[in-house]
């Protein structure tokens, strides 16, 4: 499942741009590949990340996977609910399962992401 209006990376993160802030999560494809998540390591508030830099770690019983930042900026909020209930990512990866919010410091980094149609095409090619 791919949601319109979001931007996507080749590593299966999504970003929803609202003003100067990006809400970040992992895509349905990513959560489906990982299986039931048992642990999410969230970024610290204030952490500065570059596009494609390490942002978080998601772990299922079978794999640990890095989540890379789709944009360059500073973490201003994280979804603390995921610490106790990582399975929210499986249940609602584009909604309640968001991972963090980033104050974008380099607007250009929102320009090289895929839109929903492009990401859908990309998934077909995998």
């Amino acid at each position: 499942m791919v949601v319109k209006g979001l931007l996507y990376t080749k590593d299966h993160e999504w970003a929803k741009i609202e003003g100067g802030v990006a809400i970040i999560g992992i895509t349905d494809h990513a959560q489906n590949q990982l299986g039931e998540l048992t642990f999410v390591e969230l970024p610290d508030i204030g952490k500065e990340v570059k596009q494609k830099g390490e942002l978080a770690v998601v772990e299922s019983s079978k794999a640990a996977s890095d989540v890379y930042s789709p944009v360059t900026g500073k973490v201003i909020e994280m979804n603390a609910k995921l610490e106790k209930n990582p399975e929210i990512v499986n249940d609602d990866c584009y909604g309640a399962g968001w991972i963090c919010k980033i104050q974008i410091t380099d607007k250009a980094t929102t320009k090289n992401l895929m839109d929903a149609a492009q990401y859908e095409e990309y998934l077909k090619g995998l």
Partner: protein, 422 residues
């Protein structure tokens, strides 16, 4: 056994073939998305259909079934079949009765474990050897090398000879009419599932089967070897060996009869929970773990006059200092899972490493290779998580912990019994 024993080792380079779908590949595609299918031992196999947790629970509470058609099945036949297998495996094949199965090991002359196997004696001179999928090419090459006189037999007695017998790949339909691939049906209601596909007399035979015995009978009109064996720790468990041409039909019938298809994910979590070893993890592998360390000394008959690797086993049985232990840790959602190579800490010092781990309900079960004298049931242990990402490395988390290193663990647990049946 920290290092692979070199002198007398059988060296085999596996062929680098691209993966192929198992015999049941089309059935898997009916049940799950391609993204849940991955390469394992050269085959495209399902990781899970619904979820690892659901499939794990189905095997513990009802009945689950597994595509094991990738497992190797070799026939060793003829007047020398018994003496050949008795010389190349560690258990007592001469004592194996028709209709019974036996666990054992294939060792090289240096004592390295080449595979763990189950031998089924179908007739006095017709035995079936089931080997791991990942080791099948190696096992076949080894037996062929022994037949050709090209593999070492006895380091101390280089002129020792053994009688050999012909070996046939039973999964290859070109090698003969009696072909066999494995479908496992495991869990407390597995007899009900099988009996739905059996007539009254076969149902009675199925109910009478004891652990490690088998019969040959028809299920859904398909000729099967029905064996009370398995790899899930279920007290009630079956493996069905049938012609590959019938595999899809029986698979469908088993679903109709109430077995839940289960993938490699739950196959692994079930065997870890039960304490069963996986070759390359709890056997052989980077630590070159011997059967004694793995907890299977009983399957190595040191009182046999000879078997390949006996001298090394004799020595290891008296000197080993580490062993495989089963650990229990909390495993609620939000607890970071322990993983392979994480450090096991006893009294502040690294006493070993995690080999495999799995989530079972709200617990995590880990199998660890650790100091024998620290591995008594009930002993407290801590686990230190190794770095699994760049950011964790940057925060100073270690990528490896040495034996004896002083380190503070992250999560507490304890040693529990080596095995458990469900």
């Amino acid at each position: 056994m920290a290092e692979k024993l070199a002198a007398g080792a059988f060296v085999f380079e596996p062929p680098a073939n691209s993966p192929v779908g198992s015999v049941l590949y089309n059935e898997h595609l009916k049940l799950t998305d391609k993204s849940h299918i991955a390469e394992f031992a050269g085959y495209l196999m399902p990781l899970w259909y619904s979820s690892i947790g659901e499939e794990h629970s189905a095997v513990r509470k009802r009945a689950g079934m597994f595509d094991c058609t990738h497992m190797g099945a070799l026939e060793v036949a003829g007047p020398n079949a018994e003496s050949f297998l008795d010389a190349v495996t560690t258990n007592n094949v001469r004592a194996l009765q028709s209709g019974c199965a036996q666990y054992g090991y294939l060792l090289d002359a240096a004592g390295n474990v080449l595979d763990d196997i189950i031998i089924y004696r179908r007739e006095k001179e017709k035995l079936m050897v089931v080997v791991n999928a990942s080791n099948e090419p190696k096992a076949r090459a080894y037996l062929a090398a022994l037949q050709a006189g090209k593999a070492k037999i006895d380091m101390a007695k280089p002129d020792r000879q053994i009688k050999t017998a012909p070996v046939r790949d039973m999964r290859d339909t070109k090698t003969g009419p009696d072909c066999r691939v494995d479908i496992a049906v495991q869990g407390p209601s597995s007899p009900d599932v099988l009996c739905k596909l059996a007539d009254a007399s076969v149902s009675q035979q199925i109910k009478n089967l004891k652990s490690f015995t088998f019969c040959q009978a028809k299920l859904a009109n398909i000729d099967c070897i029905i064996s009370r064996t398995g790899y899930t720790g279920a007290k009630v468990c079956f493996e069905l060996f049938l012609h590959p041409k019938d595999a899809a039909k029986l698979w469908q019938k088993l679903i109709e009869a109430g077995a839940l298809p289960c993938g490699l994910g739950s196959r692994d979590s079930l065997r870890v929970e039960a304490g069963l070893p996986l070759y390359g993890h709890e056997l052989a592998g980077p630590y070159n773990i011997s059967p004694f360390e793995a907890g299977y000394g009983w399957a190595v008959k040191l009182d046999k006059e000879f078997f390949i690797g006996k001298a090394a086993m004799d020595k290891i049985s008296k000197t080993y200092k580490m062993k495989v232990a089963r650990l229990e840790l909390s495993g609620e959602k939000g607890v970071r899972p322990v993983r392979q190579n994480d450090a096991v800490i006893c009294e502040g010092l690294c006493a070993g490493w995690v080999l495999s781990s799995a989530t079972a309900g709200t617990k995590q079960i880990a199998l660890a290779y650790m100091d024998k004298d620290k591995a008594n049931e009930g002993n407290p242990v801590d686990i230190y998580y190794l770095a699994r990402s760049e950011s964790q490395k940057n925060k100073g988390r270690k990528q490896a912990v040495e034996k004896g290193e002083r380190i503070i663990g992250d999560i507490q647990g304890k040693v529990i019994s080596r095995f458990e049946k469900f």
